[in-house]
Amino acid sequence: MAEILEKVKIEEKEPLFGPKEKKLLLDPLMDVNPITVQILGVCSALAITSLVYPSVVMAISVIFVTAFANLFTSLVREYIPKQVRMIVQLVIIATLVTIVELGLKALNFPIYKQLSVYIGLIITNCIVMGRLEAFAMANKPWRSFLDGIGNGLGYGAILIIVAIIREILGKGTLFAGSPVEIKIIGNNTTYLIDTTTSTMFGWYANNNLMVLPAAALFIIGILIWIHRTINPKLVDIS
């Protein structure tokens, strides 16, 4: 324990938030995005993106888990024997996910019900394991923590973009189920744009395809397309 504390002290002499740290935090948002570039963590992400509110909750949970799993693994990285490191990592992740699950159950039960098994599936979310293996096992705690937050943010950003597109086109609302629900377009007077009276949007009907699982795949496919058109370095050569 004393050793760990000493190390933390030494580290504080370096700038706590220099350009390197900023790079760790912001790079995963665009250039090395976990979903569109590294193809990590698509599993538990797509099913819950039909509404924005659960996606925000999911994004926050994943940021919490990646950040702290990175931090704790980085703290104990020198004491883990190589052969059992997977098990140690899985136990750290599973503990954090259990904390998230119990917290969510206590704080917001409807959302907990809605996310159901997908909270548990953060354990096998490849982002968490991937970052532990690739970053936290070889870097200092503070940087690993920032890397975890950065990757969580990159994942959350895609999740929320997909959810916004799907919810507006599919249900005509935004943040449905939360206290700040906005009704945007629909066929009665409670919506901002009422399709029964509006002259401009009279033709519009909510697209039920967007609520179905297939839509999430199309939207992510198109996001990857856009991302790679902007940044041709990422194009698959094979």
């Binding site: 997977m86 899985l90 259990t98 096998t124 979310n125 795949l217 990857i224 397309w225 194009v235 698959d236």
Partner: protein, 202 residues
């Protein structure tokens, strides 16, 4: 038997693990470049899902529930125990397969150990808990889910092998196209929703 078939058909076709729940997407996208490897991984997934589901069911029923062995509500340990069981079983399956069928072992190769972190396995167990299935139904759920996963990955691999010769826009090549193809396959599988699984129990 009717119940067993009912759950099997439903999980394999109507509620396909990949196409309607997105479980196991990572390996689904990464390993679907050739039909041969996709076949290996698909078989391994059926195998492991079929074994882990009943074992996790027994653990949940007889150890974790309040009515179980310890008489305490230990369900908060579920995640840690399930993932440990899956990791241990994958290792065990690997050893057994290596001993008794070296040819299958060589065919599966690297994919067996990778299955530990496949969301479909843990997801299957968690779905089994949240739906309160019985033991025989959970076996059917495991085998059906595995079979559906196998079908989807082999189909995608076959399409991806052919699409290499097509003129896809460069930015869409590889991953982007795989996503859109999976979406189209998902829409095709939706037409199977019309199957009435209850008809098998008659």
């Amino acid at each position: 038997m009717g119940d067993f078939l009912n759950v099997f058909i439903k999980t394999a076709f109507v509620e396909n693990m990949i196409l309607s729940y997105f479980l196991g997407m990572c390996s689904f996208l990464a390993v679907s470049k050739s039909v041969k490897t996709a076949l290996g991984l698909g078989i391994a997934v059926i195998f492991v899902l079929g074994i882990t589901m009943p074992i996790n069911w027994l653990i949940n029923e007889y150890l974790l529930k309040e009515t179980g062995f310890f008489g305490l509500d230990l369900t908060f340990l579920r995640f840690i125990l399930f993932i440990a069981v899956i990791a241990a079983l994958v290792q065990l399956v690997e050893l057994v397969v290596e001993k008794f069928s070296p040819s299958l072992y060589n065919a599966l190769g690297i994919f067996l150990p990778l299955i530990t972190v496949n969301c479909a396995i843990l997801g299957g167990s968690l779905f089994m808990i949240s739906r309160e299935l019985t033991l025989s139904k959970s076996v059917a759920f495991g085998l059906g889910g595995g079979f559906g996963w196998f079908l989807a990955i082999v189909a995608l691999a076959a399409i991806r092998e052919k699409i290499q010769y097509s003129n896809v826009p460069p930015a869409l090549r590889g991953l982007g196209m795989a996503f859109i193809l999976t979406g189209l396959m998902g829409m095709a599988f939706m037409s199977l929703m019309g199957i009435d699984p209850a008809a098998f129990t008659k």
